[in-house]
């Protein structure tokens, strides 16, 4: 095999990855635009719908990539993702909320530091909690690790909800005086601080997007652009729409950075050890690698990235409440990863995009489409009334009830898709491309060609 041949093959692979990603994204976006046309959306509605879709593609893509570091590369079965996300965004809120409590007596303040500091703190603390979980738990078998991590994420949620941590009154000055000598005096700006209990926290810090643009001195040009759009394209209040779009684009940039970081990590000597641990930890250990250390590092890095994912998901939401951090989100990310194929970074992102576009947001669009296409009345209140109409051979109430319950049925569909995938395609879309631990290609050239053909076929049909 000549060097040219090899280079050509690499180029081809790269091309195909880019094409595949673009094809999948293109198809999803096209479907949403067409749905928008069917709904009779104007430009504003279309842009809103696209911004929303981009947001979910971004967050699920990021979280799936972070999970891929845990499961796809290292073989760590973490089902406590939502715990790390929650830690990230709660710490960000605590650090960045303004010190003076606003929004009524029930609300607590924060430290009032800039949002950037808060985000860094959130990521660091999520990583530290990753360390806290990983230090003892990494000795465990995969299924035990799973149970420990999901229990951890529930403990985090109980803590968010608890009255005990709801609010603390911060003393005006904190003095540390020993034997008459004042060692330390600190005047905290915060009045009250806490996790807000069941009511959650109002995120009354400056809008993240605005804070970012102001830091980059792009706020004035951005407002100018918004004004331009208002004059030419969308006359009434275009700012939220443009904000949403810009935030979505920034999330996609974030996904790109995640991808670069993780594929560089994966190809580094460090990443090769991780893959070796996934294949056979004992062998990696026997070859002189301190596998515990490698697992620990990988777990902490992945947890920190999950914290960042949580921050980017929730910090622009206006408020956060503990019920948002139920284990369901963890399983969503898992389904996304399994759709895409654990072990492949491209696959992880694709899985995130397909999950967000088809399974997460799709059912709602289908419901709206059906409701737009047919003039339907009100849905029955419960399953009984829906089924009762079958007595008079009238399926419409049942269909209406089904459409009305689409948010629950969406989860049923996810469950069935997960079962189907585990039966028929456990390696996911691109999982057969799982990177092996060796740095050189071990497969026979003919076998390689066959697997390439399979890739192309998948890219064509599995959308």
């Amino acid at each position: 095999m000549s060097a040219d041949d090899l280079r050509g093959r690499f180029g081809g692979l790269l091309d195909r990855d880019v094409t595949l990603v673009l094809a999948v994204l293109g198809a999803v976006y096209l479907a949403y635009v067409l749905a928008g046309v069917a709904f009779g959306y104007g430009l504003r509605g279309q842009l809103n719908s696209i911004a929303n879709l981009t947001f979910y593609i971004g967050v699920f893509g990021m979280l799936a990539l972070a999970l891929n570091l845990h499961w796809g590369y290292t073989g760590l079965f973490n089902i406590g993702i939502v715990g790390f996300m929650g830690i990230g965004v709660y710490v960000t809120a605590l650090v960045s909320k303004p010190p003076v409590a606003q929004g009524g007596a029930a609300q607590v303040g924060g430290l009032g530091l800039p949002l950037g500091v808060g985000m860094v703190a959130g990521v660091v603390v999520a990583g530290l909690f990753g360390l806290l979980v990983a230090l003892p738990a990494l000795r465990l078998r995969a299924d035990y690790l799973a149970i420990v991590t999901v229990a951890f994420s529930e403990i985090i949620r109980f803590t968010m909800m608890s009255r005990t941590f709801q609010s603390y009154t911060v003393p005006d000055t904190i003095d540390l005086t020993i034997a008459g000598v004042q060692l330390f005096s600190f005047d905290p700006t915060a009045d009250t601080i806490g996790l807000g209990g069941g009511g959650g926290l109002i995120l009354n810090y400056p809008d993240p997007l605005e804070a970012l643009l102001r830091t980059l001195f792009l706020w004035e040009p951005y407002m100018g652009f918004v004004g331009f759009v208002q004059r030419t394209l969308i006359p009434n209040n275009p700012k939220p729409v443009i904000d949403g779009l810009l935030y979505g684009v920034l999330l996609l940039v974030g996904v790109g950075l995640f991808y670069l970081l993780l594929s560089r990590t994966g190809k580094s000597p460090f990443g090769r050890v991780l893959k070796a641990i996934r294949e056979d930890e004992d062998v990696a250990n026997a070859l002189g690698k301190d596998t515990d250390r490698f697992k620990l590092t990988a777990f902490v890095l992945g947890s920190a990235l999950m914290g960042l994912g949580g921050i980017l998901w929730y910090s622009s939401r206006g408020s956060i409440t503990p019920p948002s951090f139920r284990p369901n989100i963890t399983f969503f990310v898992w389904i996304a990863l399994i759709i895409g194929g654990a072990g492949s970074n491209t696959g992880s992102f694709l899985g995130g995009a397909i999950f967000a576009g088809v399974l997460y947001e799709g059912p709602r669009y289908v419901k709206n489409l059906v409701e737009t296409a047919f003039e339907l009345g009100d849905a029955p209140r419960n399953f009984g009334e829906a089924v009762a109409a079958f007595g008079s051979l009238d399926p419409v109430p049942f269909i209406l009830y089904t459409l009305d319950s689409v948010s629950q049925l969406r989860l049923v569909i996810m469950g069935v898709v997960l079962i189907w995938l585990m039966h028929n395609r456990p390696e996911g879309l691109l999982g057969h491309r799982k990177e092996t631990a060796s740095s050189i290609d071990l497969s026979r050239p003919s076998g390689e060609d066959a697997s390439k053909a399979a890739t192309a076929a998948d890219g064509g049909e599995n959308r």
Partner: protein, 400 residues
């Protein structure tokens, strides 16, 4: 040489082999029994976590004793917590038997187990509603367990004393329908991928859990409903030193049902070949198969026993606490896992004992910590057990 060697009896050969093997093992791994003991002591000496656990235990004992001494903790309220924890533990243990059996025989952690419990509870309650309320209410509303507030359990008088037939039949239907559901799911979901790894099966079971839980919500609605005529359940107040604690008829029926079923499973596994076959399968499935054990039939029996107990546990849980929601089983699942891990996977006695320990932990821990963290305390107990004794505290005693 070989010819002069004296012949040994079978038992002697075994003994020699055993001694040889022990020596070989010790030479290979440089350990001996006494060394293991020393290592345990060293772990305790070096591991900060172990010290932490011991310190926490000491602090808890001190806080309890001083609380009781000064009157900060009332004996009657402590007794009430213990009683509540015991009953909760019986439910967790009953549900845990099934989880433990499938975990050891099919070799995967079934995350859908909690939703089997919910299914049983709904099927059983629908039956009870139908029997207790037929004639005055529409059949549909009764079968949907009063979805959307169409019928109320209190109004039709669900309770062991007010409608005993409805309750007994409800419990039976809960068990039978959960068995049917488990067998159906096994046939179409787990059987085709029986030979896959435990992790693949675990992920699949998460899919089953999702589908089942939200189908239940689709059919029965999202609301949490009251299911029993809580006011008319007979109760007695048991005096306890500085007050009283309450025992209701539903407490008693829970104890009777759970105790009876646990005894039944014990006899079933002790007196029949089934228990032996199950042990053989959980040790080594291939070996069991070539020894002539009908593995598929054992698996089916496992599902039948496990799911039956789980369904009844779900029904008794709902009867006992008096409310029913589609999330009940999922919320209980992690506690059931904690119980099974605590008791040692595969051991039904471990599941029962672990269930009671976990139930007591979740209830009684509020003496020391805020009540929101009762379940968190139970999870912490599980995590500590996993770290120090992952084979469980009742290890060595597997199924039957």
């Amino acid at each position: 040489m070989w010819g002069t060697r004296p012949r040994r009896s079978g038992r002697e050969v075994v003994n020699v082999l055993y001694v040889d093997f022990t020596r070989y093992f010790e030479e290979c791994y440089h350990v001996s029994i006494s060394e293991t003991y020393v290592r345990y002591r060293r772990t305790l000496g070096e591991d900060p976590l172990a010290i932490g656990v011991v310190l926490v235990a000491l602090w808890m004992a001190w806080a309890l004793v001083s609380g009781l001494w000064t009157g900060g903790i009332r004996v009657s309220s402590l007794a009430s917590l213990v009683w509540d924890g015991l009953l909760r533990g019986l439910i967790i243990g009953l549900a845990g038997i099934g989880l433990s059996m499938t975990y050891s025989i099919l070799n995967f952690a079934n995350f859908a187990h909690g939703d089997y419990l919910t299914s049983g509870a709904f099927a059983g309650m629908a039956t009870s509603y139908l029997i207790a309320g037929i004639g005055e209410n529409s059949v549909g509303a009764l079968l949907l367990v009063g979805a959307g507030g169409s019928v109320f359990g209190g109004a039709i008088g669900i309770g062991i004393t007010t409608s005993p037939i409805a309750v007994v039949l409800g419990a039976l239907v809960a068990g039978v329908s959960t068995i049917a559901l488990a067998l159906l799911i096994d046939r179409f979901v787990y059987k085709p991928i029986r030979d896959e790894s435990g992790i693949a099966l675990l992920i699949t079971s998460i899919g089953v859990a999702f589908a089942l839980r939200y189908l239940i919500q689709f059919v029965f609605g999202a609301g949490v409903r009251g299911t029993t005529a809580a006011g008319s359940v007979p109760r007695i107040n048991v005096p306890a030193f500085d007050g009283t604690f309450r025992i209701t008829a539903h407490d008693a029926s829970l104890i009777v049902v759970a105790g009876g079923l646990m005894l039944g499973v014990h006899l079933l596994l002790q007196r029949t070949k089934l228990g032996k076959a199950m042990r053989a399968m959980s040790d080594n499935e291939d070996l069991a198969r070539i020894t002539g054990i009908p593995t598929e039939r054992v698996i089916r029996t496992t599902w039948i026993v496990g799911a039956g107990l789980t369904g009844v546990a779900g029904y008794m849980f709902v009867l006992w606490k008096g409310t029913l929601g589609f999330n009940d089983g999922w919320l209980l699942l992690l506690l059931v896992f904690a119980a099974v891990i605590l008791g040692g996977i595969g051991s039904i006695y471990g599941a029962i004992g672990g269930g009671i320990v976990i139930g007591l932990t979740a209830s009684v821990s509020v003496v020391w910590i805020p009540s929101e963290f009762g379940r968190a305390a139970a999870f912490m107990v599980m995590i500590v057990i996993l770290l120090f004794k992952p084979e469980g505290i009742f290890s060595g005693r597997t199924t039957a």
